[in-house]
């Protein structure tokens, strides 16, 4: 692994949230890195902690929520940075886009004003120069007649255009890292396809790194370089995307891929993972996936298995990683 220094290196990230029923340990010892220009997919079931991880990276949590570990961005530990340093990084060097653009866009300001606000705060551009650049950004995201659309309010845009506008706002500061939380989940497939191609093109042109959160393995296969699989607040596996789809090294990743339709004959029963998602307040001993796992053995029930290297550029938290079958030919489009 002669990888160049990572742009982002997260180590042992933990997020705890007090609730009336007890403190939820929502993100539990998450460790991963993102290289410059890399697109990393973060995938997992609902409630596995994907959004909370991104929000913690963005520094959006305040007491009583606690965040611990290290988040090293371009050599600086953000969790130990002062509020001012953090502010300078967030927004300027790390941008974020969300599933529902309407919640992130200001309904009473024009799209142009919102882009220009970011240009002023983070790039010191004002007046005509800012307007020029704002139109360029809208154009870059594929909005037709960008100059005229600067004066539109968010509600005058369609869902796909709002998502593009939000990307334009996030890009205004020329971030080195873009955090994208389900950016296409609410969109139709033809529009999703356009937005994903756009993200791929932008990361190419701007050499930006992207963390893409999704629960859609197809989206991961179509866009990401590497993938991190999350379950019950923990990373279960990290791998290059091709390797994961061919040869998952964690029983949960394997179960996830096998449960997708398309792997067997038409109308044949699918292969579900039995049971449901774990209760964070009552996790089983050892591996959090063990109650649902067909490969579980006594070895899985001791201390919680750590994420350890299993091959070049691959890590797994599965005790039986080496014994899992490969999927060649089984999962098809």
């Amino acid at each position: 692994m002669s990888a160049p220094p990572a742009l982002l290196q997260v180590r042992d990230l933990n997020v705890r949230m007090p609730t009336p029923a007890g403190t939820l340990h929502v993100v539990r010892g998450v460790t991963f890195g993102v290289q410059p220009g890399e697109m990393l997919g973060l995938v997992g079931e609902s409630g596995s902690g994907k959004s909370v991880t991104l929000r913690a990276l963005m520094g959006l949590y305040r007491r009583p929520v606690t965040v611990s570990g290290t988040v090293e961005f371009a050599g600086q530990d953000l969790l130990r940075a002062s509020e001012a340093q953090w502010q300078a990084t967030r927004g300027a060097q790390i941008g974020m886009i969300f599933q529902e653009p309407m919640s992130a866009l200001n309904p009473v300001l024009t799209v142009g004003t919102q882009i220009m606000e970011n240009l002023r705060t983070h790039r010191g551009l004002r007046g005509r120069a800012a307007a020029e650049r704002a139109a360029e950004l809208l154009d870059l995201t594929g909005i037709p007649s960008p100059r005229a659309r600067l004066n539109d309010y968010p509600h005058q845009f369609s869902g796909g255009m709002r998502q593009r506008a939000m990307i334009a706002i996030a890009l205004a500061s020329e971030p080195r890292l873009l955090l994208a939380d389900e950016p296409t989940t609410a969109l139709d497939v033809t529009i999703q396809d356009q937005i994903l191609r756009l993200l791929l093109r932008l990361r190419e042109e701007l050499n930006m790194s992207v963390i893409l959160v999704t629960h859609d393995l197809g989206v991961i296969a179509q866009t990401c370089d590497r993938v991190a699989v999350m379950y019950g607040g923990r990373l279960m596996e990290t791998a290059p995307v091709g390797a994961l789809f061919r040869e998952p090294r964690h029983a949960y990743s394997l179960g996830l891929l096998r449960s997708l339709p398309g792997s067997g004959a038409r109308r044949a029963p699918l292969q579900p993972i039995p049971g449901g998602p774990p209760n964070l307040l009552a996790l089983p001993p050892g591996c959090a996936f063990s109650p649902r796992c067909a490969y579980a053995s006594g070895a899985c029930l001791g201390a919680e298995p750590p994420l350890v290297p299993v091959a070049p550029d691959r890590a797994s938290a599965c005790v039986h990683a080496a014994a899992l079958p490969s999927l060649t030919g089984e999962v098809s489009a």
Partner: protein, 334 residues
């Protein structure tokens, strides 16, 4: 397939008045309408699963709701065996509603939060007088077993279940009425894939065992391909293509079907497209293009497409509404 269809939909149309601003109202502007369904033709064979796909707002749910009479269609005809569905009233309508059951995407919103599952099922059985009181308990247990819930589930309220279990409750309630046809509107869309597969298997098994006919409305093309015998593709209130599943996925004929399939993310990282399958946004449903509704995004559009609406035509076992297939010298896109 010459058998008489179980359900036959002819020329079904439904419009909704568009929301109108105060200013427009003061100016006395005419109220515009969203044409949610426009001259829809569709037949459903007994025992088959018909998949219905298309982008958000294309009218899938409106179609489903019109078929179970939750909404009144403006025009058209629906035949169910010998029944003239849109004209049914009173007891006949109740009887039809028992035979054709709709299950919703979010059963939570359609399940009464203050009733236990047992009470809900009992109510369904009583309202339709399907079982004498003495047999109801046994039938409730039978239904719970059928959908894979423990007997104790009868005593619990909807919020005590996980998403997948709630879908099972929704299915149990639909099955309580012993329907012959289920209309599943985005039945598993809100569920995680690993749990989705559990509910899909249940549906497959029940269909096998009870000989149910299923209309499966969904936007997950992979799932629709797996479950359906035939698939109908909708675009802006119109059915643009109906074909046997494998034909549709292997050789889509309508340019919109081709674009939709090309845009759907495949699970093969080695097959990655550089450019989007299709450019342009979905037109506003208030401003459906003249002629063919797809012409503003269609790479093959030609003069006739703006002038004339294409009618469904038989093309090698499929029905396709596209001028490329009706024009005498039209080139057929690959």
């Amino acid at each position: 397939m010459t058998a008489r269809p179980l359900m036959d939909v002819r020329g079904l149309s439904k419009a909704f008045p568009a929301p109108q601003g105060l200013l427009a109202r003061l100016r006395g502007e005419p109220r515009r309408a969203v044409q949610a369904l426009s001259d829809v033709h569709l037949s459903v064979q007994r025992g088959e699963t018909l998949g219905i796909v298309g982008e958000s707002g294309c009218g899938k749910s409106t179609l489903a709701r019109c078929l179970v009479r939750l909404q009144d269609a403006d025009q058209g005809e629906v035949r169910y065996e010998d029944l003239d569905v849109l004209r049914l009233r009173g007891l006949d309508l109740r009887r039809y509603n028992r035979r054709v059951q709709m299950i919703f995407q979010d059963p939570y919103s359609s399940l009464n939060p203050r009733m236990t599952v047992g009470q809900m099922l009992r109510e369904a059985l009583s309202v339709h007088r399907l079982r004498p009181r003495a047999e109801q308990d046994a039938r409730i247990q039978e239904l719970l077993t059928l959908v894979g819930l423990p007997p104790a589930a009868a005593g619990r309220a909807p919020h005590e279940f996980s998403g997948g279990q709630r879908q099972r409750v929704g299915i149990a309630r639909a099955l309580a009425l012993e329907p012959d046809c289920l209309i599943a509107d985005e039945l598993v869309s809100a569920l995680d894939v690993s749990v989705q597969a559990q509910v899909v298997n249940l549906l497959l098994e029940l269909q096998e065992r009870l000989g149910l006919t299923v209309l499966f409305v969904a936007h997950d093309l992979r799932l629709v391909r797996h479950l359906s015998h035939r698939v109908a593709v909708m675009y802006l209130g119109r059915v643009v293509e109906v074909a046997p599943t494998e034909d549709l996925f292997r050789a889509p004929k309508h340019p919109y079907t081709q674009a939709l399939l090309a845009a759907a993310p495949t699970l093969d990282p080695a097959r990655r497209a550089d450019a989007p399958a299709i450019t342009g946004e979905l037109p506003s449903p208030l401003n459906v293009p003249s002629g063919c509704a797809f012409r503003t995004r269609c790479p093959h559009a030609f003069a006739r497409c703006a002038a004339e609406r294409p009618l469904p035509t038989d093309v090698a076992g499929a029905q396709v509404a596209c001028h490329l297939y009706s024009a005498p010298d039209g080139a057929v896109p690959g």
